[in-house]
Symmetry: C2
Subunit: 351 residues, 2 copies
């Protein structure tokens, strides 16, 4: 029996299947094959990673040990990069012993020692290109590569993430600053050697010709912050909710509605979600202006030009930040219009 949006318990992640496939195809066109190393942290879903593999990308980027383990278990362990520093690498070493290819980021003598001690055999030197997070100073990358090789590790090259630029609204400024970051990364690469220069993200994927592999992830599902930056991919992810309470205007208080999509169903670090109206999703209500989120609720003022919201209406909410939103849900539903085509487990959550 065909399941429809009306059958779903809310809140629920719903993915516009056509928008997702169009996003995957557009990025694969720009970054074909191994030049794209999709970042699974943005969706935490091996079924979606299988779709990315079907678009020609053999290797993936991961942010956690659990993501690496899950990708190996799903048969996608051909070439995994854990693009973060790890002190306890025993679980990664176990995967390598069993035949998975796992490369880990290092940025210090301690993380080099941990990689060697845990049985990881391949590393990238993580270079700080301007975001104050992990990464060695560019001028120290060569010495760290030498130290890694002295411990018997294979150094495949460098990575450097211009994360602070990804959502800059001015594309020309974003491009100019990306060039500066990548100049630092290429200088480090000259000292380090190896075949890989890994970096980038959805926000700089159209303006970073310097990396040999692009780590974009958010392009698949998208969120309102990247949409505002005009990166050119379609909003494929919504959180489906139900209007559970509607208050008419009273005196000076305007009317509002409340849907069951709260901050426990949304990544909130980039702020409130948006309710933009719902082209293509019949049965869901029109747009509105979000006032605030509570644990299990979003309070919003319905748009003046939309039909009034009634208790029981479905509401489609766009999260401000896709990565932490997906991490809060057990599953995502693949939809076409009102029809639910498939349900995928968000199976890479946790650590």
């Amino acid at each position: 029996m065909t399941q429809t949006l009306a059958d779903l318990q809310t809140p629920a992640l719903v993915v516009d299947t056509e928008a997702l496939e169009a996003n995957l195809a557009a990025m694969a066109d720009r970054w074909p094959g191994a030049t794209l190393r999709p970042h699974v942290k943005a969706h935490k879903t091996t079924a979606l990673a299988h779709r990315q593999a079907a678009h020609g990308h053999p290797g993936f980027t991961c942010a956690t040990i659990r993501e690496v383990e899950g990708m190996v278990a799903a048969g996608l362990g051909q070439d995994l990069l854990l693009a973060n520093e790890v002190l306890d690498t025993r679980r990664l070493g176990t995967l390598v012993d069993r035949g998975a290819r796992v490369t880990v980021a290092v940025d210090s003598p301690e993380t080099v020692a941990a990689a060697a001690a845990g049985g990881v055999r391949e590393v990238l030197v993580d270079v700080n290109v301007g975001l104050p997070r992990c990464g060695t100073a560019p001028t120290e990358a060569g010495a760290l590569a030498d130290a890694a090789r002295a411990r018997g590790l294979q150094v495949r090259g460098v990575m450097g993430y211009e994360g602070h630029l990804q959502a800059l609204p001015d594309a020309a400024e974003r491009a100019r600053l990306t060039e500066g970051c990548m100049a630092l990364l290429l200088a480090a690469h000259a000292d380090v050697g190896g075949e890989i220069v890994s970096g980038g993200g959805t926000g700089t994927s159209a303006m970073n010709p310097w990396v040999t592999e692009m780590q974009a992830g958010s392009y698949a599902l998208m969120d309102s912050v990247y949409a505002a930056a005009g990166v050119g991919y379609a909003q494929a992810l919504h959180v489906l909710g139900t209007a559970v309470s509607v208050a008419p205007p009273r005196g000076e208080m305007p009317g509002y509605a409340v849907a069951d999509v709260g901050l426990k169903a949304l990544g909130m670090d980039h702020g409130n979600p948006t309710i933009p109206g719902c082209p293509g999703a019949s049965g869901a209500t029109g747009g509105g202006h979000v006032w605030f989120c509570s644990d299990e609720h979003v309070t919003f003022a319905p748009a003046a030009d939309a039909a009034p919201v009634r208790v029981g209406d479905r509401v489609l909410v766009v999260p401000a930040h896709v990565d932490p939103t997906v991490a809060l849900h057990e599953r995502m539903h693949l939809v076409r219009g009102d029809e639910v085509l498939d349900t995928w487990a968000v199976d890479l959550r946790g650590w």
Copy 2:
């Protein structure tokens, strides 16, 4: 073999067992027995709810259907209040049919109809006392109660949550405004009838003598926002992390450190976490000033008067908001000093 903090994979929720027990005892002293209906949304952990039951509280407040189901499965279904509106009440009706006592909030003809249709037999009329979220207007509560009784529902009384006041820093102002909210609730109660006036939270639990049952939840584990409001309970919850990268000062750039407690391990709706230093937890590093959080990292400037942070050091992070933080984790570890006494599943997550 005794497990210690050093054995835990990070990030990990750790709970100071003595602080938790002291918090439970202090609240039970103020609100004994059924006068406290602890809110499980703050911890989503049936093992912790069993501890609250052991302190004398027979009934609980829930925010989601999943929480109600999980509490029943854990043998704690004696008197559960789902303090939110629900349109699809079939899962609740199934629990009632099996012998659980489930009361649900209603604030509209639609939610009354849904309760009756789904097989729920008992309701509270949810009254808007100032927070623009769910709840009927106080003047309409009596009519809604009549409508519910006409549908065969037992109306146990009213609830009204002064959520907008919970974290007000000025306690006198908080008390004054709480009195105004509760005047609205008591007026509605006079029209509705029933034995229950349910409301309140950790922030108003010392200044709300008007409710017959207090819905506090955050008091058990606490967070930095409630601590700043001076509500008088101890910080029992931390997120344990590992320092994975340390950068020395360079030119005008001060030094900083990076730990593996990112925004996917923290509720971010109340802002950044704090790293206050770690009394009583040996082996973890001193305090610091948080700069920002990324998906898997917190970047912070170590306190000038603390020992330098080294790669591999443990770091204890206090989340700004406990409820969504706990919802991101699969388990919490009960600790005493460095010793891990027990591990509880966070088994009420999802919807």
